[in-house]
């Protein structure tokens, strides 16, 4: 202590030192409590694809200029339809890959012919802005194999995700960092 009378315990000094000891004990207890109840692994944000309504907030509310949310394709769920409602806009002029027929505003979905009558749809993540238009289309008329996910190579893992705060359906949750994705699966009930 920095008090002048080191040997005499004044009332003020006694009070201060007992409060000091209490605080230190309190912090120690808190540390013990937290290390007991906390988890070793970190948590990250993720979208539950079965709750997501593809409202489009993901594209605009992320703190990153280009959202950390991108569309992900669970190929195993996909029907490989020739006419994909995630790919083609409503009432296209033609069933071709021409830009005016596409639903995606950035042309991020690539359509490749596999065998008659099946086509594979892949997402170019550099172009995808996470608007979820294709997700809506695929959910409405297809198998729902397109869905939005937080891409963890981009996500800053903010303490409070600004998209989660704006999510209308409560689809955002914290998941353990060692299982950072909630992918759609064929066997989901």
């Amino acid at each position: 202590m920095t008090e002048n009378n080191k040997d005499n315990i004044t009332r003020r000094r006694f009070l201060r030192e007992s409060v000091w000891g209490t605080c230190l004990g309190g912090l120690g207890a808190a540390a013990g409590f937290f290390s007991g109840s906390s988890k070793r692994t970190d948590t990250v944000w993720q979208i539950d694809p079965y709750t997501c309504v593809a409202c489009g907030n993901c594209a605009t509310y992320c703190v990153l200029e280009e959202s950390a949310v991108k569309c992900v394709h669970a190929y195993a769920v996909c029907g490989y339809c020739r006419i994909c409602f995630g790919f083609f806009g409503p009432e296209p002029h033609d069933i071709t890959e021409a830009a005016e027929n596409q639903l995606c505003p950035t042309g991020a979905i690539k359509r490749t012919f596999i065998e008659d009558p099946y086509y594979e749809y892949t997402i170019d993540e550099k172009l995808c802005n996470g608007c979820g238009k294709c997700v809506k289309g695929c959910n409405a008329f297809g198998n729902g194999s397109l869905f939005l996910q937080v891409r963890h190579d981009r996500c800053l893992n903010c303490n409070e995700c600004s998209i989660a705060a704006a999510c209308p359906s409560g689809a955002y949750k914290r998941v353990p960092a060692d299982k950072p994705y909630l992918l759609k699966r064929v066997d989901h009930a």
Partner: protein, 434 residues
């Protein structure tokens, strides 16, 4: 080409036949008998590895140790400044300001009130380490480790002194902010501190416009009023203040003795230097005793009034929670008082949950806000009452001292002290004898 309308009609008929539900396999995945095409899997780029979070904790610990050493032992403003720039670069621009001890308050509160939320160990360490260091060494965290403090410290170019009463009054805002942040975190509504963090937009070089404007305004104010966020807003600073009051070591302006030369008087840009007290005016003692007695009696009344007010505001504060807002919206829609639906209300209807359950959930939440409001309002009342008591108590001071609570340990005042100049052998012994 087949008409697209026909396809849609066909699809709709098909869906009705199968019973449409999202996620159902309307079109079975093909086998690819001709081409043997293998179905790819989606890529899953992993998050930042946990080990880096531990590195952050180690860097925090190292910065705290170094800061405490530089302030209390080396007494070097230049070195503190260097560490501060490093912290700004590392915790601010490199780590993008997340997670920080200020925001960690909310994680701690949420983990106490919501048992399903598990707080990572690293976040707990970020919350506790600066508290422990403050208990031992004063606010050395604020001096050179906090990136929010650092960015403001760099902006404090032309600090002016503001009156003591204004400083005390404005500081009450920080207490209210802490109380509100705890209330919102405890009810699981929002992390208000993160949402209104004014400088994180600079660290990320992107962010919402209104926050960016607040940040720029605070930095501009900070040119004249040193560190406005730290002094008047920071909720973590509120906790650090109290621990710093009783810290076992603290910043002293002079390395040995105060010669009352008044040279340091105006050196603190944060108004933390207290001058020696003058003799008490005659008759002051009796008057102040009466006032003190009145204020002590007033304290419980203030706590109760604050609590009542906080609880009464539950319908307002409750709107911070998304479920309450949703229930209000759905109620208005059900009653036909508004046209159309919002994303949230249609998402709720799509789940097929009962409206009544939503109302029950919302009213339970509002009750929680009422309960929390008692504590929040009571806390604010207590703070106001204690503030009134402390300003009416006179402390005896014989030296120029840094106020234990307000001192941010930046080390600017050291070099103003002639005894310090003597210690550094930059002045001759005659100075100290004046």
């Amino acid at each position: 080409m087949i008409g697209f309308r026909h396809v849609i009609i066909g699809a709709v008929v098909f869906l009705v036949a199968r019973g449409a539900a999202s996620g159902v396999e309307r079109f079975p995945p093909p086998d690819f008998v001709e081409t043997n095409h293998s179905i790819p899997s989606p890529t899953v780029p992993g998050p930042r590895q946990d080990v880096y979070e531990y590195i952050d904790v180690v860097v925090l610990l190292g910065a705290l140790v170094l800061s405490s050493y530089l302030v209390l032992k080396r007494r070097s403003r230049r070195a503190v400044f260097g560490l501060m720039v490093f912290s700004l670069a590392y915790f601010g621009f490199w780590r993008k300001g997340c997670v920080c001890p200020i925001g960690a308050i909310q994680n701690v509160v949420l983990s106490i009130f919501d048992r399903s939320y598990v707080m990572p160990v690293t976040v707990a360490a970020f919350f506790l380490l600066p508290l422990v260091f403050t208990l031992f060494f004063g606010r050395t965290f604020c001096a050179a480790v906090c990136p929010l403090g650092a960015i403001q410290d760099l902006a404090a170019l032309r600090p002016i002194a503001i009156p003591r009463w204004l400083e005390s009054g404005l500081r009450l805002f920080a207490y209210g902010y802490l109380g509100a942040a705890v209330l919102f975190a405890a009810t699981g509504s929002a992390f208000a501190i993160c949402r209104y963090d004014p400088f994180v937009a600079f660290f990320r070089l992107s962010g919402r416009l209104n926050i960016l404007i607040i940040g720029v305004c605070l930095l501009l104010i900070g040119v004249f009023i040193g560190r406005p966020y730290c002094r008047f807003i920071c909720p973590y600073g509120v906790i650090l203040r109290q621990l710093s009051r009783i810290s076992s070591r603290r910043v002293t302006i002079t390395p040995d003795e105060c010669i009352k030369c008044r040279l340091c008087e105006d050196s603190c840009p944060f108004g933390a230097i207290r001058e020696p007290t003058a003799a008490w005016p005659a008759g002051y003692y009796v008057k102040s005793k009466k006032r003190l007695a009145f204020l002590i009696v007033l304290l419980p009344a203030l706590v109760l009034a604050g609590g009542r007010l906080g609880a009464g505001l539950k319908a307002v504060t409750g709107r911070a929670h998304a479920t309450v807002r949703l229930a209000e919206r759905v109620y208005l829609e059900e009653e036909g008082k508004v046209e159309g639906t919002t994303d949230a209300s249609s998402a709720f209807r799509a789940t097929g949950k009962e409206v009544k359950d939503l109302y029950d959930e919302a009213s339970a939440l509002i009750d929680r806000f009422g309960m929390g409001g008692w504590f929040f309002g009571g806390f604010v009342g207590l703070v106001v009452g204690l503030k009134l008591i402390t300003v009416s108590v006179r402390r005896q001071r014989t030296d120029y001292e840094a106020d234990r609570a307000s001192c941010l340990a930046c080390g600017r005042c050291f070099e103003y002290c002639p005894r310090e100049q003597l210690r550094l052998k930059k002045a001759k012994e005659t100075v100290g004898k004046g």
